[in-house]
């Protein structure tokens, strides 16, 4: 079962929830049951209840180094607090900064089977009237966001998904380089930023960014030492 979490209450979540719709549709297309927590249903009570039966958790919403939030910034996941709810699951948090703390913690604490996210703010160019279905600049960033979720659904490892997503970002960058559009450079700038922020952790290896862990400026919940050692071993195996 895929548990999809799509809060929708401001410009950022208006876009990001829309961008995860292809993941929901793809899951249904390939026969995966979906529980889609949209809008006010993207709350802690529903998250705790439905996450129990999920194999995949794909969620958007505002985040930080230590938290992932749902509707109106209600905390759904917090490093070191309720990580067990993702035990044995594939987790993709399309949420700012979670890759700089929460995502690695979900994996190294021995809970998530694998986890993917972004170590920095996921950032994009959006233009008035801020309709994600009509915004030709914004839709490029939606392509990348959905791509990650769809690859996970198709059984790719977190590491392979991250590498494929970076390659997809490069394809999108190449496309915009060729466009004689007054905002092409602005789109490329944020694609570079987002591409470089993709991080992934799993048994098949990890993908980190140069600044994902080492420069995390805010409090970071460290996993147990044994988990760190095991994690480093995993990373070294695939370097």
């Amino acid at each position: 079962m895929l548990l999809s979490i799509r809060p929708d209450y401001d410009i950022a979540t208006r876009y990001s929830q829309h961008w995860l719709l292809p993941v929901v549709k793809e899951a249904r297309r390939i026969g995966i049951e979906v529980v889609d927590l949209y809008g006010k249903n993207a709350n802690r009570r529903n998250f705790d209840y439905y996450s129990k039966g999920a194999k995949f958790i794909v969620g958007t919403g505002h985040g930080s180094e230590t938290t992932y939030t749902g509707q109106n910034k209600e905390i759904l996941l917090e490093a070191g607090v309720n990580e067990r709810v993702v035990s044995g699951k594939d987790v993709y948090l399309f949420s700012c900064l979670t890759g700089a703390g929460l995502i690695p913690s979900l994996y190294f604490s021995g809970n998530a089977r694998q986890a993917i996210g972004f170590s920095e703010e996921y950032t994009w160019l959006a233009v008035p009237p801020y309709d994600p279905s009509q915004d030709k600049y914004g839709s490029t960033f939606g392509d990348l966001a959905a791509y990650i979720g769809i690859k996970l659904l198709h059984g790719k490892s977190a590491r392979d998904t991250a590498m494929l997503a970076k390659a997809r970002a490069d394809e999108l960058i190449s496309y915009w380089k060729k466009q004689d559009d007054p905002a092409a450079d602005e789109v490329i700038k944020w694609l570079i930023h987002d591409r470089d922020a993709i991080v992934a952790y799993g048994k098949s290896g990890s993908v980190e960014t140069p600044y994902s862990i080492s420069v995390a400026p805010k409090p970071f919940v460290f996993p147990p030492l044994a988990a760190i050692v095991a994690g480093i071993g995993t990373i070294l195996m695939f370097c």
Binding site: I11, P128, K177, A183, A184
Partner: protein
């Protein structure tokens, strides 16, 4: 770096042709502007040296000026929206206000600078 290679770059990458990447004689120049001056035979040595230096270790103060020049030009570029959002930091902000943050070199300005450097590095390694 030659005039020909710059011209080829612009032809292949029109989407990046107008991003200011070097400052020469106090003027922020994009790849397209570099070609313009090189074709006229003006500031040839200065542009060549500046492009080479920019690939190695550009001073941060120059990067700030290039960032400011970039958005100042966007504010008068036909077709570029006068108000944009760059979620989650910048929501529904006029370009004129973005320029104020850059001039103040505040948190939003620094956020923009970091990403602009990434963009300029992408262009500099290609020209």
């Amino acid at each position: 770096m030659s005039l020909e290679s710059l011209q080829n770059y612009i032809q292949r990458n029109p989407g990046l042709a107008d991003v200011p990447i070097v400052i020469v004689n106090g003027i922020a120049l994009s790849p397209r502007q570099c070609v313009f001056y090189l074709k006229k035979g003006e500031m040839v040595q200065e542009i060549t040296s500046a492009l080479q230096a920019a690939k190695i270790d550009p001073p941060e103060d120059e990067e700030w000026k290039l960032l400011e020049a970039y958005y100042a030009r966007k504010s008068v570029t036909p077709g570029f929206p006068s108000v944009i959002s760059i979620p989650p930091y910048i929501i529904n902000m006029p370009i004129s206000e973005i320029l104020k943050h850059i001039r103040a070199r505040d948190e939003i300005g620094r956020f923009l600078l970091k990403s602009q450097i990434g963009l300029m590095e992408e262009i500099r390694k290609g020209v």
